[in-house]
């Protein structure tokens, strides 16, 4: 198997002076292509920071990162290209744009990638149908349940056919039935698109779905 993500010595600190917190401490991590990895650990152990570093939405203070074989220079490089072409993100709090409908929230990711509007609309409908929201296309986030919002968020993450999807606590705001449904959906999507998936969770019950579990504590990886 080929490593699609390779992080070496990734380090991230927050705050200054005595208030500095070492969120991720010289972490080496590899994720293989089509792998489903769960990153687990207690609250505040650095899981979200780590996937934010790997997903190029947070700049590391130190360390090196390679995505799909390419070395990433977060300081000088325009990371927006990598974010829209290779990465899909699912956030714990969904982060859907409140003024757009479910359909438009998925389409906006393709609009950013300059996909033709008609093509974007048809793919967005296809994805929302796949996640079971065909009857919710024109609903705004405020009109959707937590589970529905999370599924829109997944559809948006898949919109530009990314190689990797990072999901930060995707089941944190869902009940157990919604969590099971979501995991089932993730497995289905993974089978269909062969996408690499990294999920941050503290939900022990989800472990069974993973190819591998990365356990974190105090900003470091304990075992993989």
């Amino acid at each position: 198997m080929t490593a699609i993500i390779e992080g070496t010595g990734l380090t991230k600190r927050f705050g200054t002076g005595e208030a500095t917190v070492l969120a991720v401490d010289a972490v080496d991590v590899q994720i293989e292509e089509s792998e489903l990895v769960m990153i687990m650990g207690d609250s505040g152990c650095g899981k979200t920071t780590l996937i934010s570093l790997l997903g190029c939405i947070l700049t590391p203070d130190d360390g090196e990162l390679r995505i799909d074989g390419e070395a990433i220079d977060p300081v000088s490089e325009d990371l927006s290209v990598i974010r829209r072409e290779k990465i899909g993100f699912v956030f714990q709090l969904f982060h859907l744009l409140p003024y757009l409908t479910a359909l438009e929230n998925v389409m906006v990711a393709m609009d950013i990638a300059k996909t033709n509007t008609r093509e974007a609309e048809s793919r967005a409908i296809e994805l929302l149908t796949q996640v079971g929201l065909v009857d919710r296309l024109h609903h705004r986030p405020a009109q959707l349940s937590g589970g529905e919002k999370q599924r829109v968020s997944f559809a948006r993450a898949l919109a530009n056919r990314p190689k990797i999807i990072f999901a930060d606590e995707p089941t944190a705001n869902l009940d157990s039935r919604q969590s099971d449904n979501l995991m089932h959906l993730i497995q289905e999507l993974r089978r269909e698109y062969q996408t690499t998936i990294a999920i941050v969770t503290h939900h022990e019950g989800l472990k069974a779905n993973a190819d591998r579990v990365i356990q974190m504590k105090d900003g470091r990886i304990l075992n993989t």
Partner: protein, 376 residues
């Protein structure tokens, strides 16, 4: 999605409307304050310019025809009518005094202008009715009883034949003059100089000033300087008189307003800047989301700037419209200059867009993760 920025604005319409209204009110206030001062300047000039006089003569030590207390004996008329540098027989006596006539039972402000009909100092014709009856003699004589008649400003709304009370006397309105309001919409009441002397100057053979035309081959400044050299009078040119009158009636009393205007400019600049800056900063979470899903900085910046430009543009245009509406409805004369409006509009627009740009720039330069956690 070309309308993304509009969808966002529609979603936050209350915020958008309040921001645009904030800009609107500030711009209209700045323009109105400027307009009030412009209006006062215009009104201060228009009567003085309308007289056609080149030289204004007042009592020595008065500081100018309209400034200090000035009483000049009429005997100077004979001297002025043959003075070198002045057009022969062009000198005219003038009473110019603030008064509180009672009009329809109400005490009101006005300025009485007493002059000799047909000479410099007031209108030659009425726009409605007739001019007042002219006194026959050059000086006051008991055998020349002049009727108490007045020609009022057409905007006073008085009818011909109506009577107003001035001092203890009833004065009959016989005509209306083309409106020439003095500072702060003070109407002018034109009457024969003898009546003005009787009603306002204790029936003495004094006037407040004399005005004359410079002779054709003499510069007014030279003619005024020659007269000014005399020990008992002061003489000023039209330009000097206008300068005195604007300084005395507008600039001095309006110093506080001028200061307020400068402060308002500063406050408006800061407030308008802050409104747009804060409005943009509040969008950092969305900026973070857009960046996290792959939006380039230029895409996000385009989205934000379209909003800033639209809100600022609407705010500025509404501010201009509101200022002109308020100016038309104001109880005093307000003159908003077009050039000033354009300058205010342009500066406000630049301040809005500049602060919006700064906020947007700050928001897009941070990592998406930091932006959508609102930690900037």
């Amino acid at each position: 999605m070309k309308t993304l920025f509009l969808k966002d604005m529609r979603y936050r319409q209350a915020r958008v409307v309040l921001t645009a209204l904030g800009i609107t009110v500030l711009i209209s206030l700045i323009l109105l304050l400027g307009g009030i001062m412009n209006g006062m300047r215009i009104q201060a000039r228009q009567y003085v310019e309308s007289t056609g006089a080149d030289v204004w003569i007042s009592a020595e030590g008065s500081g100018g025809a309209f400034i200090g207390f000035s009483m000049v004996v009429e005997e100077y008329m004979a001297f002025l009518n043959s003075a070198p540098g002045l057009t022969a027989d062009s000198a005219s006596p003038l009473v110019f005094a603030q008064a509180r006539p009672t009009v329809r039972g109400k005490s009101t402000k006005a300025i009485v202008v007493g002059y000799k009909l047909g000479q410099l100092g007031g209108p030659k014709q009425a726009v409605d009715g007739r001019m007042f009856t002219r006194s026959n003699f050059e000086d006051y004589r008991p055998e020349d009883p002049v009727p108490y008649e007045v020609v009022v400003d057409e905007k006073m709304g008085l009818e011909i034949g109506e009577q107003i009370t001035l001092g203890n006397e009833k004065v009959r309105v016989v005509g209306k003059a083309k409106s020439l309001m003095f500072v702060l919409d003070t109407p002018l009441l034109f009457m024969d100089v003898r009546i003005a002397q009787k009603l306002l100057l204790g029936n003495t053979p004094h006037v407040n000033m004399m005005i004359a035309k410079a002779s054709k081959n003499e510069q007014p400044v030279r003619a005024a300087a020659d007269l000014d050299a005399l020990e008992t009078i002061e003489a000023r040119t039209l330009k000097q008189t206008l300068g005195d009158i604007i300084a005395y009636y507008v600039d001095e009393p309006m110093k506080a307003v001028q200061f307020l205007r400068v402060m308002l400019w500063l406050a408006a600049g800061i407030l308008v800047g802050m409104i747009t800056y804060v409005t943009m900063l509040e969008k950092t979470q969305e900026i973070g989301v857009l960046k996290a899903i792959g939006a380039a900085n230029s895409y996000v910046m385009g989205l934000l700037l379209k909003q800033v430009v639209l809100i600022s543009g609407v705010g500025v245009i509404l501010g201009l419209i509101l200022a002109y509406i308020f100016a038309a409805a104001a109880p005093i004369f307000v003159a908003i200059h077009l050039v000033e409006s354009i300058i205010v509009a342009c500066i406000s627009f630049i301040v809005c867009c500049g602060s919006g740009y700064m906020a947007a720039r700050k928001a897009i330069t941070v990592d998406p993760m930091i932006a959508f956690r609102g930690e900037i």
